[in-house]
């Protein structure tokens, strides 16, 4: 529980940083999603049920973000599924899941499927959002390839701190 709280606070701060700093920088194609990189990396290093919960909570934070105009619960649904799946993969690749290359590939693929899943589910639930798939998806995926190796050591350290905090509290 403490671990999830730590995750929620970190995710909230990262989302704020994303909205205040990263999203205001005019990156080519689309802005990198530090938030998604963080959430999916975390899920890859986490157990399945916790990953699903944390994905759900991260999605909910994104849903109720002041800048969000979508349906509440949409991101929660998408990230719960994706984080569970990524965590399942992380458990399969337990030996190499802290390797930067593995993390980069998995996170990039995870972000790609997240965006696609979000678009498809958005169409199914008739969520009227402008997607701009052709530009957003390649842009976000490209920048996640660039940024994941850079910020993954920080995420791994943060995860270790969260694990330690969780263990000491328990």
């Amino acid at each position: 529980m403490t671990k999830s709280l730590f995750f929620v606070i970190s995710a909230g701060l990262i989302l704020t940083f994303q909205e205040v700093v990263i999203s205001r920088i005019p990156f080519p194609l689309a802005n990198p999603s530090i938030f998604l990189i963080f959430v999916i990396s975390w899920a890859f290093l986490e157990d399945q049920w916790l990953a699903a919960l944390q994905g759900f909570l991260a999605g909910f934070i994104l849903d109720i973000s002041p800048l969000s105009i979508g349906i509440i619960g949409h991101w929660a649904f998408v990230l719960a599924v994706i984080c569970y799946g990524v965590s399942e993969l992380g458990v399969q690749l337990r030996g190499s899941r802290r390797s930067p290359l593995t993390l980069t590939v998995v996170v990039t693929a995870g972000i790609f499927f997240t965006l696609i899943f979000f678009v498809i589910s958005g169409v199914l639930i008739n969520a009227n959002q402008g997607y701009g798939i052709t530009q957003t998806v390649p842009g976000v995926v490209f920048w996640s390839l660039v940024f994941t190796p850079l910020i993954s050591p920080l995420i791994i350290k943060l995860k270790r701190v969260a694990d330690d905090v969780g263990t000491s509290v328990e």
Partner: protein, 313 residues
């Protein structure tokens, strides 16, 4: 292990049902989404202020980073544009100079009533060939024949050596093998001017008793049947007289009216006027600048006489 997995799946399904419930409530308008977002905004507000303070340096850095390629492209484009403009300016300057040269040569030809064919120098013989030749962009198709005179704005420049259909080769006046019969302005004293290989020419007077002064101007005397030289074409001005005692001839250094190293446009005289222009084609002589003379009168001061007081002492 399988229990854990089943629990995880059950937990996931519970989460998904919750999500779908949230979605349904929101779509039906039963969820206070506005309130939730306001709460979220209130909670994130202090952190937004905090992150906002670091936005500017981060943005400056990244915009510099992203505009690096654009700046390089911009510099490259400006350099190309600058080079193109310089080239254009250089071309315009060259054209202006050519027009100026052409105007002066047309003026000269007009004054002498010569029929001319304007030509551009397209090549100059290499110094290694030990001859001062030029190639013109006019040839037999333009009415050019061997031994015709070539003039520029100031006067005589060369004579045609050989002609092809569209080009011709001419021997410049400063070539050592070049010789032209001349006469001195006004006096009519005859001589021969020949090239020296340098920038000056050499004048040899046939009559050693003739008067030869610095500043006297020289015009072509004209060859038989006006081939290769026409009478009255300005050649140069005497800058130095060589005094050699007992010599049978008199010689002088002549500076040509035309700077042979700077010509680009010339004219080939294809037919002469019926009358000899004599000295009419010579440029107006420079008026001597008067030297101011100052006369100083010195009045001696009166010689001092011893005074009476000095005498008593």
């Amino acid at each position: 292990m399988s229990n854990d997995k089943a629990r995880s799946r059950f937990f996931l399904i519970a989460l998904l049902i919750t999500s779908l419930l949230l979605i349904t409530l929101d779509l039906r308008g039963n969820l206070p989404s506005e309130v939730l977002r306001k709460v979220s905004a209130t909670v994130s507000s202090p952190f937004q202020t905090l992150f906002n303070s670091i936005y500017r340096p981060v943005n400056t850095f990244t915009s510099d980073l992203f505009s690096l390629g654009r700046t390089r492209n911009k510099i490259s484009n400006l350099q190309k544009e600058n080079a193109a403009l310089k080239e254009e300016l250089s071309r315009k300057n060259a054209i202006t100079n050519e027009v100026k040269d052409l105007k002066s040569v047309i003026d000269l030809a007009g004054a002498g009533r010569y029929k001319i064919v304007p030509a551009r120098i397209i090549a100059v013989g290499s110094a290694a060939s030990f001859s001062r030749t030029i190639q013109l962009d006019v040839g037999s198709a333009d009415g050019i024949k061997k031994d015709m005179s070539i003039i520029a704005g100031g006067g005589l420049v060369a004579r045609i050596l050989s002609v092809s259909k569209s080009t011709s080769i001419a021997l410049l006046m400063d070539d050592e093998t070049f010789k032209v019969g001349v006469r001195l302005e006004s006096s009519g004293t005859s001589g021969v001017v020949s090239g020296t290989g340098g920038s000056d020419l050499e004048l040899i007077l046939l009559d050693s008793t003739s008067d030869l002064r610095v500043g006297q101007r020289v015009v072509a005397r004209g060859s038989a049947n006006s081939q290769p030289f026409l009478p009255g074409v300005p050649v140069g001005v005497i800058t130095q007289v060589n005094q050699i005692a007992g010599a049978l001839t008199k010689s002088a250094v002549v500076k040509p009216f035309v700077d042979l190293n700077r010509i680009s446009v010339v004219a080939v005289i294809v037919s002469k006027s019926k009358t000899d222009p004599r000295d009419a084609l010579l440029p107006a002589p420079l008026k001597p600048i008067p030297t101011p003379t100052v006369t100083v009168f010195v009045t001696p001061s009166p010689t001092p006489t011893p005074s009476s007081s000095d005498a008593t002492q």
